[in-house]
């Protein structure tokens, strides 16, 4: 019995790290630019497929391919931002939010079709040789892939936090998130901040995509599910809280895994219901900033 819980807990943490990583990019973009990119899951999807390509065409191990995927998604994000979203930054917040939502919705319609074109609608699997293997510890199974994935997630989050807290660009991004007018007055080039932040968000989604690709099947339509997951985590944590997003992801992952013991296939609804509850009773999220 305890073992079942322990296993579920471990599975939940692995899953949760994935959720957290998936959400962090969205939280960053929203916090700094106050724009809701509902095509975030599509970036994750692209990350998965690019990792797939690297593995199938060039024999590059998915984990080792992460920097490449991150770079590619960074570029894609920057280009898409420049084309679609850069005109909106001057709007006032409500209109900016609504328009960014709509444009991102358009992206959500287009990108899966692009993926279908490049990779067909068939399911793909990303399975390096160590895929199914695991090691046991205290009677609990730790899969190689999820465990390395967890370590990667932690490393990425730590790097991100360092970046945001220690580098000048990171601080300027945080400052812009707090008060873009004042940040401009400090000499921050807000246009450049926005495009780089968006691109970083896309890169983070790409990294999450690699891990997602390793943990399940790849289909062109997989993005929307992850967008919803990321949205739930971001709302749970509170818009704009990066570290909180990761923790909220872990909470969600564990909650889903443990409730799977009792609820079976309905475990997925746990997150959704949690989401609605938070929206109703504590819309600012669990870790809202000061």
């Amino acid at each position: 019995m305890i073992q079942m819980f322990a296993q579920s807990f471990v599975n939940g943490v692995n899953l949760g790290a994935l959720y957290g990583l998936a959400a962090v990019g969205l939280s960053l973009a929203f916090g700094v630019m106050k724009m809701m990119n509902v095509a975030h899951g599509e970036f994750i999807m692209l990350g998965s497929y690019i990792a797939y390509w690297l593995f199938m065409l060039f024999d590059i191990d998915p984990f080792l391919g992460i920097p490449i995927v991150a770079f590619v998604l960074f570029l894609i994000g920057a280009v898409l931002y420049k084309l679609l979203f850069s005109g909106m930054v001057t709007f006032h917040e409500e209109l900016k939010l609504k328009n960014s939502l709509l444009v991102a919705f358009g992206l959500f319609l287009v990108l899966p079709e692009v993926a279908k074109l490049l990779w067909t609608g068939d399911e793909r699997m990303l399975t390096p040789s160590y895929s199914g293997s695991s090691f046991g510890l205290f009677g609990v199974r730790f899969g190689y892939v999820p465990t390395i994935g967890l370590l990667v997630s932690l490393a990425v989050i730590t790097l991100l936090q360092l970046f945001l807290n220690k580098t000048y660009f990171g601080k300027s991004a945080r400052a812009t998130a707090d008060n873009w007018k004042a940040a401009k007055m400090m000499g921050v080039n807000d246009a450049r901040t926005y495009i780089i932040t968006f691109a970083i968000g896309a890169a983070l989604a790409g990294i999450a995509g690699v891990l997602v690709g390793l943990s399940g099947a790849l289909t062109p339509g997989m993005g929307i599910g992850w967008t919803i997951k990321a949205l739930i985590v971001v709302v749970l944590a509170g818009m704009g809280s990066i570290g909180g997003a990761f923790i909220a992801g872990l909470i969600l992952g564990v909650a889903e895994a443990v409730s799977a013991i009792f609820m079976g296939p309905y475990a997925i609804t746990v997150g959704l219901i949690l989401f609605l509850l938070i929206l109703m009773f504590r819309p600012q999220g669990l870790f809202a900033r000061g």
């Binding site: 005109g87 444009v103 358009g106 992206l107 959500f108 279908k116 296939p265």
Partner: protein, 308 residues
């Protein structure tokens, strides 16, 4: 006097169009033509009904498809399971959707802007998962119905529902309620200060919108030979409605109609030369273009061209 002539001109144009459409089954009994038009009418109903809450009231409801799906399964059950005649079954489905709209609307409208959008999306997702898990098997029309299956009554039903939807939307848009909705869309806080009952107006628009979504579902339940419950709750029903309304011209009566024409024909055209699903990408691009460059949609484009 001039406005009377313009209005009666418009009315006769509409009347002529409807009359011509009513003649179609007399001219041809080709299944593909009737099916195409039937689906086209369905899109009009779906897009018009969404337009009321999303376009006129400005509340971006991403759960529209769930009410359609509810209409489908309730109507289907009332018709095939309980044995009610089709008109009653469809009313039942529509009323169920209306009721659900009322239940969901009251808490949902406490959420502001983007939270409302996400909340409706998540609600639809929850319903989709529950239905998929509980009703995995398709419902197929029994043999005796299949042998007598004719597209003609279904065609007329779909046409009638679409016409009713358009008329109702038109009446609402001209009534005081419609003005209130437009005020809410433009500036909710200001509208509230002016005494527009925010919740009442939103709920009204929402329930009418879900009622017609449910009705569309009923039509679909009557039309489709096999129905997989979960598929009826897919987000694509919502997104199709949203796309049509936006590309056509959100917040106008003619917009969803024009958009539906464009959508249906483009889809048909593309399906002949391109792999399936390309029409979605094309519409995605159009959607983005509309949002960025032409917020009034095709209606605005037509007006601009006419204005020249």
């Amino acid at each position: 006097m001039i406005s009377m002539t313009k209005r009666s001109k418009q009315a006769s144009a509409w009347g002529a169009a409807v009359f011509l459409l009513m003649l179609v089954p007399i001219v041809t009994l080709r299944n593909d033509v009737l099916s195409f038009l039937l689906t086209f009418f369905l899109y009009i109903t779906l897009a018009q009904s969404w337009n009321l809450i999303g376009g006129y009231a400005g509340q971006m409801n991403l759960g529209h498809g769930a009410f359609f799906g509810l209409g489908v399964i309730i109507s289907r059950h009332l018709w095939l399971g309980v044995g009610l005649p089709i008109p009653l079954a469809i009313m039942g489905g529509a009323l169920a959707a209306l009721l659900m709209g009322l239940i969901i609307g009251i808490p949902a409208f406490r959420l502001k802007d983007i939270y409302f959008v996400m909340g409706t999306l998540v609600f639809a997702e929850i319903l989709r998962i529950i239905v998929y898990t509980n009703l995995p098997r398709a419902s197929v029309m029994p043999m005796n119905y299949l042998t007598h299956y004719s597209l003609v009554p279904r065609y007329y039903l779909s046409l009638v529902v679409a016409v009713i939807a358009i008329v109702v939307m038109y009446v609402i848009s001209k009534a005081k309620v419609g003005l209130g909705l437009t005020a809410i869309r433009e500036d909710e806080d200001a509208a509230g200060c002016l005494g527009v009952g925010l919740l009442r107006h939103k709920l009204f628009a929402f329930t009418v919108s879900t009622f017609f979504a449910g009705m569309a579902g009923g039509v679909f339940a009557y039309y489709s030979v096999a129905v997989t419950a979960g598929h009826m709750f897919e987000h694509l029903w919502t997104f199709d409605a949203v796309i049509i309304a936006f590309v056509g011209g959100v917040g106008t009566i003619l917009g969803p109609v024009v958009g539906a024409v464009f959508f249906a024909f483009l889809k048909q055209f593309l399906s002949m030369y391109m792999p399936e699903g390309v029409h979605v990408a094309v519409f995605g691009v159009l959607f983005i273009l509309v949002v960025l460059l032409l917020p009034g949609g095709l209606i605005e484009l037509i007006r601009k061209i006419r204005g020249r």
